[in-house]
Assembly symmetry: C2
Homo-oligomer: 351 residues x 2
């Protein structure tokens, strides 16, 4: 007994051997006779030693067996979003297979000198954080650790993406083919915190890849069909049911003859449908509504029609992201595509 703290060194001293052998007993059994290893491990267990100190090991090896997940939103918000949860489940499944820990890194507000943040002990990051110019996002990218980005265009990194543009074109084609001409688009913010109103012809400057791609899809479908881009209103709002409801109300005030709402998330769409219901506008009789994500309805007793939407496999996204991050070999930047598909249900109908 030399100190009150048990370490490799103290064990070695107790046993009259060198601490390296103790280390090897844990990490490098081949370098120690099995007899000695047993002796060491038995003794370690008997004095309630729990294995080499992770911080010290990490300092020495530069590795720590954990990956960090970064969101733009509050963590508590992520855990109310079925999409984010499914994503996390995908990540967790892979990490479980490999014995990797997952570090959830909350956004820190007390970022006094721009340095406090983001000091997690991780070997790499998964950025599920769609706003490119977000400071935390930027800082994570700047760190230079292996990083996989999701729904985010970062040419120098591995990115997991969905065919947002093409599937949104398909969705818009579906709406147009049903005869709709007066269409309102409801999206979450193009840049963090923005909530503007504009028309589809506007040149977009957004740092949200997903919004950008979906907007492109809409535009491609609409242009050339005899519909003017500048007649299509686009409303930004926060990604929630209330946001959707409010946006729908606003758009209907401006253009009472709108017959279809294309929403960039199911949450928004459910808000829109609820608002239409409240206003006495039948869905899909009077107004068609579409979503994105394919989540379950928020309310178990919902009387809303089944939502026409786009399914994206968030679980698969999580899996792919984690696999890409943990597979040593694939260092190169590359794009991993997870196919999203249009699902026609009962919230859309002919005009």
């Amino acid at each position: 007994m030399h100190r009150n703290k048990t370490t490799l060194k103290s064990i070695a001293a107790d046993l009259g051997i060198t601490h390296t052998s103790v280390s090897n007993a844990f990490n490098n059994p081949a370098k120690v006779s099995s007899k000695l290893q047993k002796k060491i491990l038995d003794y370690a267990k008997s004095i309630n030693y729990h294995g080499p100190n992770p911080a010290a090991r990490s300092l020495r090896t530069g590795l720590c067996g954990a990956i960090g997940i970064i969101y733009n939103d509050q963590l508590s918000y992520a855990f109310s979003d079925p999409h984010d949860i499914a994503f996390l489940r995908g990540v967790a499944t892979v990490c479980e297979e490999r014995g990797t820990n997952i570090v959830l890194i909350p956004l820190k507000n007390n970022d006094l000198n721009n340095f406090e943040s983001l000091d997690a002990m991780v070997d790499g990051y998964i950025l599920n954080a769609p706003y490119k110019s977000n400071p935390t996002t930027q800082r994570a990218l700047a760190k230079g650790l292996p990083t996989v980005v999701v729904d985010f265009d970062a040419p120098l990194h591995i990115s997991v993406l969905t065919n947002d543009a093409s599937v949104m074109r398909e969705m818009t084609d579906h709406i147009i083919s049903l005869g709709h001409r007066k269409i309102g688009i409801i999206t979450f913010p193009l840049t963090e915190g923005s909530h503007d109103l504009f028309t589809l012809d506007r040149k977009l400057e957004t740092d949200n890849y997903v919004v950008n791609q979906r907007m492109i899809g809409c535009r491609e479908a609409i242009s050339g069909k005899g519909i003017k881009l500048n007649s299509i209103l686009v409303r930004e709002t926060i990604n929630s049911r209330n946001g959707g409801a409010e946006a729908a109300r606003h758009l209907l005030e401006l253009q009472p003859d709108i017959t279809a709402f294309i929403c960039f998330s199911d949450r928004l769409a459910y808000g829109v449908m609820a608002e239409c219901q409240r206003l006495g506008l039948d869905v899909p009789g009077r107004v068609s509504v579409t979503g994105f994500d394919d989540l379950s309805p928020p309310d178990m007793n919902s009387t809303l029609p089944a939502l026409t939407t786009i399914r994206q496999d968030a679980y698969a996204k999580g899996r792919k992201a984690a696999e890409a991050l943990l597979n040593k070999d694939e260092k190169q930047s590359r794009r991993i595509n997870i196919e999203a598909t249009l699902i026609k249900r009962d919230s859309t109908a002919t005009k």
Copy 2:
């Protein structure tokens, strides 16, 4: 430039000062003139230094600004359980307020020498792991770090508990007051992996506190009502819809005149109701069913009756657990109670 790696030391060398001052510029501004601090931070930023290495800091200070969450189940399973997710949201909310990272620690299978596991860098644990004798649980407790246990009786630690016994007594009273005498109880395993059949008089040896308490509640309510404890069948099964369905089928084979199922989770209850429906037994006309947790129905188009169940506030549990762990002052072991309440709905009726 001394090495290719940027460290406090290399910055100090570049600036011709001592590395302690650089450290102080980040952690201890009072110990450095504001002029020098600015100089250091500016320089650090200019060469893309991201703050002191967390592993080294952690090694030196013994702290790391993160807490670990341990489940008995697979993580991926936790992320499909609304109860666990709400719990996690509660934990995350608190951690967000305090800037603490959350480490999700998967159960490791490759536990070769009983030492590999559980080497996360954390300052404390939240054990959301109800089986006391689970090896990972034991190991976490043995580590001696600050630990909060949930749904788990550990007199030496802070525990977050629900009034399982009393609320279950209330539920059973409710069932009996409706006239039911032939009752089947369906529970998840008393010990990890067990799946027995027994009667309510059996002396229980379980290492799952929650099951134990709920069983006590049932027994208290039943005894003295002229119902023999050894006439009440208890069936263990895995906590899933299928488990519930299978258990119900089994119990009905043994006792076709059962008129009420008391289930220890909503998952089980939904499975039971579905099975009854399949067997042509009306719920609640022919059979009453009760749950525990108050989750939404699994299926959006469910034709099942609204479940009589017990609501427990998993979010509050998470909050309380995290607060108790992070509040320095409250070192003492103590019990934190989160009240659960009986919610009568449509799945129970008079016999």
